[in-house]
């Protein structure tokens, strides 16, 4: 610290405490709402302490779901979200690390075109081409499948881009030495490149897990079968009831459960998360 100014220090803490409070406020209210009965907060006055409905609400949602909104049990939906998040994270890392390897370490005709074709997708949001993509997925028979849920989302270029950056910073001498030792491209990749990128892979995994878990529009469109619902898209289904009131206590319980896994990942793997975040964007 440059100098000690108590007033400024106090101000800093104040700002941070307010910040933390603002950040936590919605979650706190959501949690409180999820522990009360459905009619306990009709007037705008939400109780500020947890209610006694907590086990009932969470128990019902996890095991039975909400049949009236066509919601399967949340445990199933969370399982689907997990499958989706893991498939996207692993799949994306796998295909992008090898394609980055090809782009950086190989010389072949069409490399420039391949590079640009991949990078042009860098920021092509799915919303922009939603109908044609849906049509492709439907033609491939991938509606209501885990493949349909995940493969179209695996193709973004961010991960490829990151690995390209990582490989570019690895000294050329390593490869030259490996060649002298007679190591082929696969051995070099497996024995040298992969171990050297371990941290990056882990960091990327954290980011992609969150990305996959939080997908919304795509699962909403490609799943019509409740057995493939994910929890994030399920929330919308619950809030959107025709001719009836949304049951906010259940919706808030779902919201809490939907945010729990990625939030825990961030809190417990904060270092990797920060690294992943800063590196994927840099």
């Amino acid at each position: 610290m440059v100098e000690n100014r108590p007033v400024l220090n106090f101000l800093a803490h104040l700002v941070l405490i307010i910040g933390v409070a603002i950040v936590a406020f919605p979650i706190y209210v959501a949690f409180i709402a999820s522990t009360h009965g459905p009619t306990d907060f009709l007037s705008g006055l939400i109780p500020m302490t947890p209610g006694h409905n907590i086990w009932h609400t969470y128990g019902t949602m996890l095991t039975d779901g909400m049949k009236s909104s066509g919601m399967p049990p949340l445990s199933l939906q969370m399982g689907n979200s997990l499958i989706m998040a893991l498939t996207i994270a692993i799949g994306k890392i796998a295909i992008s690390i090898i394609s980055a390897y090809a782009i950086v370490y190989f010389k072949f005709p069409g490399r420039g075109i391949a590079f640009w074709l991949i990078f042009i997708t860098l920021m092509m949001p799915v919303e922009v081409r939603i109908l044609p993509t849906y049509k492709v997925v439907a033609e491939l028979g991938m509606l209501n499948t885990y493949a349909g849920l995940t493969i179209p989302l695996i193709a973004s270029a961010t991960a490829t881009f990151l690995f390209r950056q990582v490989f570019l910073t690895i000294p050329d001498e390593l490869m030259e030495a490996a060649r002298i030792d007679g190591a082929g491209p696969l051995k070099f990749f497996w024995d040298i490149l992969l171990p050297m990128s371990r941290n990056n892979i882990a960091a990327l995994f954290v980011i992609l897990f969150i990305y996959g878990w939080n997908q919304y529009l795509w699962p909403l469109i490609v799943t019509t079968d409740t057995s493939h619902y994910t929890i994030v898209m399920g929330i919308k289904r619950m809030a959107d009831v025709t001719d009836a009131q949304p049951q906010w206590n259940y919706i808030m319980a779902t919201a809490i459960l939907a945010m729990l896994p990625p939030v825990l990942v961030v809190i417990f793997m904060q270092k990797l998360f920060v690294k992943g975040l800063i590196e994927t964007e840099k």
Partner: protein, 443 residues
């Protein structure tokens, strides 16, 4: 060519993961619907009963979300050749479905082709009229039809010393002020579906045209004329005024999700919405207050009012592109669905109107209407007078979006950004653009 190769390659991989349906001895048909909540459970029960009643066919019903979600996902699926056999489409989608001649299998034709017994004359004309072509052929199968009615808080009315529901808008305003002045309720009334209840039905109820060419029944060249409907312009202007005075509280766009809680909590003494909301109203007000029912109010100075209300709700459309075995199953299922027992059961449970005379008669014989006050208000409204060209219904393409426009312009008016006349003129000009686009795309 390249695309085919790519696709073929991926198909091989993907189909391994895709859910394969095993070969079945029975013919399985799919039905996509928009019935959530208790209605959805009842629907599942009907389907289960059908599946149990015979062993040749099996119906699989899938809940697809809101009406517009159900319709659009069915259309998207049709484009991708993955359409269900039956899809439930709400009444404003009728224009779009009807124009898609290559996509739909008209119900009257299906029943004839498949040799299922089918008597179009057995259906209530006020219901089926909405879904028949100009030759009187039934194109889709009415499943759940309702019409807006007035609900009121009997306890609050009694406290204020008001005898029954208001018959006219003038009475409604006076009653509201009486209730509010006495501090009995915070607002007079709220309403679901501004587009359907306070606009389209308003015009029909006052025997005013909604559009040219018999409200669009006459062809794709029809256009909206809301702005020329003086009583309607007046009514919207009143709604804006009432919103300022607190007599009326807006419940949001579309179905108006914020409206029911205002009535349930006793804040608003009156509430206009679908006759099918009756079950929900009763469930949510049980133990709080008694609910009374009335017909929609009308303006006493408009000649010919009240005429009759028009229906809302949805019908079942059969989609093209399946083989004959499927259509045999569909025809058999629709026949089952129109039987008086199933119809009476469904309508009495849900509050939807019975669609056949036999079902209505059965209900009467069972004493259902006598024992359940308010359950026949809707039927009385739609059959009050023989429908005129203005009150038969409406049929425009792209009308799903026109509904959104109605909501938007209504909101602008309530926000004080435009007058009622400007708002309705904008509905016409913006809506007619969409309708013209639809006409061009379906030439």
């Amino acid at each position: 060519m390249f695309r085919k190769m790519m696709l073929a390659g991926l198909v091989a991989g993907a189909s391994a993961m895709a859910m394969g349906s095993a070969a079945e001895a029975t013919t399985t048909i799919t039905w996509w619907h928009a019935m959530g909540g208790e209605l959805g459970q009842k629907l599942d029960q009907i389907v289960a009963n059908y599946n149990k009643s015979q062993d040749k066919y099996k119906v699989v019903a899938t809940y697809k979300g809101s009406y517009s979600e159900t319709m659009t996902s069915a259309i998207a699926a049709f484009r991708a050749h993955k359409q269900p056999d039956i899809v439930q489409v709400f009444e404003v989608g009728t224009g779009t479905m009807m124009a898609a001649k290559g996509a739909i299998y008209p119900v009257y034709k299906l029943m004839k082709d498949m040799g299922e017994p089918f008597d179009p004359k057995g259906f209530l004309p006020a219901v089926v009229g909405y879904y028949t072509d100009t030759h009187g052929n039934m194109l889709s199968f009415p499943f759940n039809s309702s019409t807006p009615i007035l609900y009121y808080n009997k306890d609050e009315f009694k406290k204020a010393g008001i005898d029954g529901p208001p018959k006219t808008w003038g009475e409604l305003e006076a009653d509201s002020k009486k209730l509010m002045d006495a501090g009995i309720s915070k607002c007079g009334f709220t309403s679901g579906w501004i587009s359907w209840v306070q606009t389209e039905n308003f015009s029909a109820w006052h025997n005013q045209p909604i559009g040219t060419m018999e409200n669009g029944f006459g062809g794709l060249g029809a256009r909206l004329v809301f702005g020329k409907d003086k009583p309607l312009v007046n009514h919207w202007a009143n709604m804006a005024k009432w919103q300022k005075d607190g007599v009326f509280k807006y419940g949001g766009p579309g179905g108006g999700n914020d409206a029911p809680p205002m009535f349930y909590s006793g804040d608003c003494a009156m509430y206009m919405n679908s006759s099918a909301s009756r079950a929900g109203v009763l469930a949510n007000t049980k133990g709080k207050f008694d609910v009374g029912y009335g017909m929609l109010p009308y303006y006493a100075d408009v000649k010919g009012a009240p005429q009759n209300t028009i229906i809302g709700g949805a019908t079942l459309w059969v989609l093209q592109g399946h083989d004959k075995a499927h259509y045999k199953a569909v025809a058999n299922f629709l026949h089952y669905m129109s039987s008086p027992a199933v119809q009476a059961d469904w309508s009495q449970f849900s509050g939807y109107l019975p669609i056949t005379k036999a079902a209505y008669d059965l209900g009467q014989k069972q004493g259902y209407y006598a024992n359940n006050p308010g359950s026949d208000v809707g039927i009385k409204e739609i059959t009050l007078h023989a429908p005129t060209a203005n009150s038969k219904g409406l049929r425009f393409g792209n009308y799903v979006q026109v509904r959104d426009i109605i909501d938007e312009e209504f909101q602008k008016m309530l926000g004080g950004k435009e007058t009622a006349q400007q708002a309705l003129d904008n509905v016409d000009s913006r809506g007619n653009k969409l309708i013209a686009q639809f006409q061009a795309a379906n030439k």
